[in-house]
Symmetry: C2
Subunit: 76 residues, 2 copies
């Protein structure tokens, strides 16, 4: 089975990487882009029957820095 974890910086935390992308898009002529936030996505192949709880523990332990990042889990 698979799970997808999306990790984004929390609102209010400066995102210089996203800001750099926004600036570069503007320089390329994409003028309608008013904001960019960049995060990471982690696709996990899991043993059958793995619970969402266990993926949550992975996020808390390693995948996200919960001081500055939030995460979403999609099981599927």
């Amino acid at each position: 089975m698979k799970a997808r974890v999306t990790v984004m910086l929390k609102d209010g935390v400066l995102d210089p990487q996203g800001e750099a992308v926004r600036h570069a898009l503007g320089a390329l002529g994409f003028s309608g882009v008013t904001g960019v936030r960049q995060g990471k996505v982690i696709e996990l192949d899991l043993a059958p029957g793995t619970e969402r709880d266990e993926v949550e523990r992975m996020c808390e332990a390693l995948l996200a820095n919960t001081v500055i990042e939030r995460y979403e889990i999609e099981m599927g």
Copy 2:
């Protein structure tokens, strides 16, 4: 309006970052993780009425390296 772009390495392209995460999860006792792929997610705030086509052009021009990466666009 918003769009979310997910960029992953194509299948067959080595993903050392994902492999490092898999190894670290194993070391932390999460033994059921058989594979990990890591990618990036880019959330765009767009001017109202922006077409999916334009986001696709952003991906081709800047957001993804289409030689080794594939991308998915979700408008919403």
